[in-house]
Symmetry: C2
Subunit: 391 residues, 2 copies
């Protein structure tokens, strides 16, 4: 399973088939008697864009390699896809992203209010296929799946909250383990762990086997995310859906950026922190420092702003000349240079490799009971795909 | 049940008791082993603010007046309260509201990204009590409740989408029936219909009786919303504030505004449309100085700026740049004058009265089987409260 063309062929075909099945099923969920234009059409926008469809494929492959049917896994896969796309819509607003899968983000196209509501509607609609599923796989597995979805949603929100908290506090003193914990909650749960878990549960797999698959998915997901972050630093136009080097412009806490911050000299770190605290170019009107001065003094008088806070604000406003207030390409290149200088990309590759090996061991533990099939092959092929896809 | 002091006393006591029960239960949902500060504490912010707690009370009263226990209704009531508050958080972002229940809105205090995520987390968490409920009321009623919640979420999202679509298109040619349809979907479902339906289902009430209660709630909810919109217009039009004339500043499609637009002369209507198309002061994101935003958030995170100080600063920055392109108090007063000139407030009062009478008839149809109790009294008292509360 290391022959690249065969890997790609299997992967592409399998993922595309799963994706089409899921999209068909999503379209069936839409009530035929309701006006579609301002809600349901927008719900289909992201799912219909070119995408890997990894989550549905993981769910369906886990189910079928556990002896379950496509039918049994289809509705959980639909729920996952709805949830994922809802999360992307809200994430794009939170990150102020401009592009998603090569097209403008939903809030860029229709405004933030509509985009928030479409995301909410998708979260809401994801409950229906899980309830419908009772008629297909019975009550017990359906309820276990609902419990897993509740858990997944909580983990994702906690992971997202953790990352937003780091950003808000300008917090950079973070270890590999902090990053892994955040990624596991924010991304692995809903993208890897829950898809295979729902697939296994839909096939009435036993708890021990289900846990083995979940561990495989967890390790694979962490390796996947680190590789994703590496690709973001070297991607070419068209090869990656988001903006090139977007993570650096956004100041996203990636494994390599955190590594660099730990290794950098104090002056390097200070400069990097300064750059990363600047917003990226885009929606960025001018600061109005002078008008604010009396208000700030009032806040200090009321005890709502400390003298240290006032000094810091004055400093920031004084520094913020029009040419200095946004990240420049030169500054982003400086960050990239620091990453190379401190071997942070190599470090990330090694850590990803470690998780990949752990994923391989977890997969090997499943080979005794996973049915030999294209579905098992698909799961195995993902171990290769993690590193191959960047090439 | 028309004696006002007694009505108020019963209502206040009952609602407060339900609210406390529900808040206790929400606090129990929060995992004890997770860091609370940046997610779970924020989830409790809105629920802990002074509020009526109408939805939990409706759910509990419907259950107990149907012969069910408090225990049976408690978890559905919790889910409704979580859903409601999540909806408020997202709604406040969509409407760019500054105040909620007398304090700054969540996104004013913590930024849009955090507020979107907290809302998502609350939507996610609302699934758990509904699953836990299986242990308390059994599988059948629990599944029917889950189905109702899925329906409710879809109706709310459709109603919200309908209103956002009218706003986006600058659409004003709308009849009373259009307004009622939107309000029914956007507000009545999750605030009235679903609360009593879940209460009745939790008590294992039969479908015919459940439908009767739902019809009562639907009519009551429509009357309630019209009365809410009328109350929003009473008082002086000053600077923008959520409580006074806020709907006119926002350009919200209310029954009376739509009536006035139908009755107005062409020049009046043209002028009204022009005013309504202007953003309200502070709504323009261009004026908010987002460059300063991350700095301010950092100060808050470090404890150098209080949340109140932050909200005040944001408010000042938004107000500091008046523009010709924003609504003025004079223009809002002009709209109010048109509403009076065309008898639109009287029209709205009459329509509300009609729905109230229909609610009364629906309630009378239930008196044959609703158990005589404080719970039945609470439901009946709401018929009086709709009109009394404005006085």
């Amino acid at each position: 399973m290391t022959d690249t063309p065969r890997v790609r062929e299997l992967l592409t075909g399998y993922l595309e088939e799963c994706r089409l099945q899921v999209i068909q099923e999503i379209q069936r969920l839409i009530p035929p008697d309701r006006p579609a234009a301002f809600l349901y059409e927008l719900m289909l926008d992201y799912p219909l864009r070119e995408a890997k469809g990894l989550r549905p494929a993981l769910c369906i492959a886990a189910c079928r390699a556990s002896g379950g049917t496509l039918e049994a896994a289809l509705r959980p896969a639909v729920a996952l896809e709805l949830y994922h796309n809802a999360f992307l819509i809200h994430d794009d607003i939170e990150d102020e992203s401009h592009l998603r899968r090569g097209r403008p983000t939903l809030h860029q196209l229709h405004g933030v209010p509509v985009a928030i509501n479409v995301g909410d509607a998708m979260l809401a609609l994801s409950l229906q296929p899980l309830l419908d599923n009772i008629g297909f796989i019975g009550l017990g597995p359906s309820l276990r799946i609902l419990q897993e979805v509740a858990r997944m949603a909580r983990e994702s929100a906690e992971g997202q909250a953790l990352e937003l908290d780091w950003i808000r506090r300008g917090h950079w003193a973070l270890e590999d383990a902090d990053y892994v914990r955040m990624v596991e909650q924010k991304t692995c749960w809903y993208s890897f762990i829950t898809p295979v878990t729902l697939g296994a549960l839909a096939a009435r797999q036993n708890p021990a086997h289900t846990a083995q698959l979940a561990e495989f998915a967890r390790c694979l997901g962490i390796a996947f995310q680190i590789q994703d972050d590496l690709l973001n630093l070297s991607g070419e136009v068209g090869a990656y859906g988001k903006e090139i080097g977007g993570d650096l412009w956004e100041g996203k806490r990636t494994l390599m950026l955190l590594h660099m911050m730990r290794r950098a000299s104090p002056p390097e770190r200070a400069e990097a922190e300064r750059i990363l605290s600047l917003p990226r170019p885009g929606a960025n009107p001018e600061l109005r420092g002078p008008a604010l001065e009396p208000v700030l003094e009032q806040l200090v008088a009321r005890g709502q702003l400390t003298p240290e806070g006032l000094a810091h604000l004055r400093h920031v406003m004084a520094e913020a000349m029009p040419s200095k207030k946004e990240k420049t390409p030169e500054q982003v290149r400086f960050l990239l240079k620091l990453l190379h200088r401190h071997g942070s990309l190599d470090h990330a590759r090694q850590v990803a490799q470690g998780w990949l090996e752990q994923a391989r061991r977890a997969f090997d533990a499943c080979t005794g009971w996973l049915l030999p099939s294209v579905h098992r092959d698909l799961l195995e092929v993902l171990l290769t795909y993690v590193v191959e896809r960047g090439k």
